[in-house]
């Protein structure tokens, strides 16, 4: 399967199943579009008709030969032979669990309108995870991680800093046993920043491999939704704390993580504000997750604006890089030579199988976005996964599980999409969240265009 697109003056050809990426001129772009359906003679005639005397017949035939060589080398028009691999990775992994999202606090000191977790309560009671429950979760993870060495734990909520002492004790416990268990814990922290102090900065910068800092960009945008229970905006209180934490981390291993809504589909203004006015360089900005009738929900008109914004962002990032002041956007971070293998690309994030969320009470859910949906409870950290039928449903989720994905060129980048997004959009984890697909494809096109621009400039 081949995907051709033109962006920012580049003609780009993606070979889905080999991962090949080719940057071509107009003539080659035209030839490739005809290659599988036309004879060489017909291609020559069509190209001559389009380009006239600017290209000779010999040129065209040489280019056809080059395309054939790429096909012979397995870099273009590669057949899709991966369907029979779908599911093998998860089957081979058995019941291994390697990552947990620890909900250490089902409560929050902010009252954000758009919160998918209903102000941190997940449609339930307020609660803090005890050290004992957290320790059992870490033991469950180690006991069920098989031969996996790298284990990941994200401290999440709600607001995890509202249970900071337990977070620190859990990290210390994991560090005390990881060597003897042959494991390597990587901790991450997602916070709204309200309770950041010197102790948090010191501990997080020593122990957290990544910190995710919630800020929606411009003050008027952030303070429209990210407010406390008195309705006061959080911007002026959190920005200085974030700046201090990031400076103490050496400006690395963090993401400013914003959410854009119907109020700001022009989200690049928020990214550029964080970069130019606040000094943050590692940025992530995500579309809101909410019901379609929610006032914050992105409309079809918004989605067109957002897609254009992704292009604006990609071009601007190239400019910044050229000027020696680069910024990072999470979704544009592609590693073409060191990216994931095809097994990972087919199987996806591992939600419900190797990745689970743990509630303050020790219940297991497929991921943080299913917490509070009682029918999606997998089990608990004492008894493990008891709803094995549900786990099998998630095990069956992969890039080849949905008929709609069969002809999609991006399926080995998205792995068939996010099960939670599909569930919230369609009522089924095997559904397809079309708006999410459109945005995902646009992001990948932009990210690859940036790679093409950098490679061809060298």
């Amino acid at each position: 399967m081949v995907h051709q697109y033109q962006l920012n003056g580049y003609n780009i050809v993606l070979d889905t199943c080999s991962g090949g990426i080719h940057v071509v001129d107009e003539v080659a772009y035209h030839i490739i579009s005809l290659f599988e359906t036309h004879s060489p003679e017909a291609i020559v005639a069509a190209v001559k008709e389009t380009f006239g005397d600017s290209v000779t017949e010999q040129d065209i035939r040489d280019c056809i030969a080059d395309v054939q060589s790429l096909k012979d080398a397995g870099k273009l028009f590669t057949p899709d032979t991966f369907a029979n691999l779908a599911g093998t990775f998860k089957e081979r992994s058995g019941d291994v669990v390697k990552a947990l999202c620890l909900h250490v606090a089902h409560t929050c000191n902010l009252n954000c309108d758009y919160c998918f977790a209903s102000q941190g309560k997940y449609h339930g009671d307020r609660a803090l995870m005890s050290f004992e429950v957290g320790k059992q979760a870490l033991d469950f993870l180690m006991d069920h991680s098989g031969t996996r060495r790298n284990l990941e734990v994200d401290f999440f909520g709600g607001e995890p800093l509202m249970n900071w002492d337990v977070v620190k004790r859990l990290v210390q416990y994991a560090r005390s046993v990881e060597k003897e268990r042959g494991k390597n814990f990587r901790f991450t922290l997602t916070t709204n920043g309200m309770l950041i102090d010197d102790d948090v900065i010191d501990f997080a910068n020593r122990e957290m491999s990544n910190v995710v800092l919630s800020l929606d960009g411009r003050k008027e945008i952030n303070d429209r939704t990210r407010v406390d229970y008195q309705g006061r905006g959080s911007y002026d209180r959190i920005v200085p704390k974030f700046q201090k934490l990031v400076a103490a981390r050496g400006g690395k291993n963090y993401y400013m993580r914003g959410t854009f809504t119907h109020a700001n589909p022009d989200f690049t203004k928020d990214l550029f504000h964080m970069a130019d006015d606040l000094g943050f360089t590692e940025l992530s900005m995500e579309p809101v997750v909410c019901a379609p009738d929610d006032p914050a929900a992105l409309t079809p008109e918004d989605l067109e604006i957002v897609k254009n914004q992704y292009e604006i962002l990609a071009k601007d990032m190239l400019r910044r890089e050229k000027e020696g002041k680069p910024i990072t956007f999470y979704h544009y971070m592609l590693d073409l030579t060191g990216g994931p293998c095809v097994y990972k690309r087919i199987s996806g994030c591992g939600s419900g199988t190797e990745y689970m969320a743990v509630t303050p009470w020790g219940d297991l859910y497929p991921c943080h976005q299913f917490v509070g949906e009682e029918s999606y409870k997998l089990g608990d950290v004492w008894n493990g996964v008891t709803n094995t039928a549900l786990r099998e449903q998630f095990r069956a989720c992969n890039a080849y599980a949905r008929p709609d994905c069969a002809d999609c060129w991006a399926k080995l980048y998205c792995s068939g999409g996010c099960a939670a997004n599909a569930y919230h959009a369609t009522g089924s984890i095997r559904g397809v969240y079309q708006a999410g697909c459109d945005l995902f494809r646009k992001r990948i096109e932009c990210a690859i265009m940036m790679k093409a621009a950098k490679e061809t400039a060298q």
Binding site: C17, G20, V24, V67, G74, F82, F116, R257, H368
Partner: protein, 38 residues
Amino acid sequence: MERIKTLDTRNLCESAKNGGCGECQTACKTGVANQKCE
């Protein structure tokens, strides 16, 4: 004249032979495109 420039990429067919160790990492919280092989 070079009409086609092929970027250096990991060949996915090759990765089917030696991939699948599962050690790679599981920002956004809301694809695998941005992951690195470990």
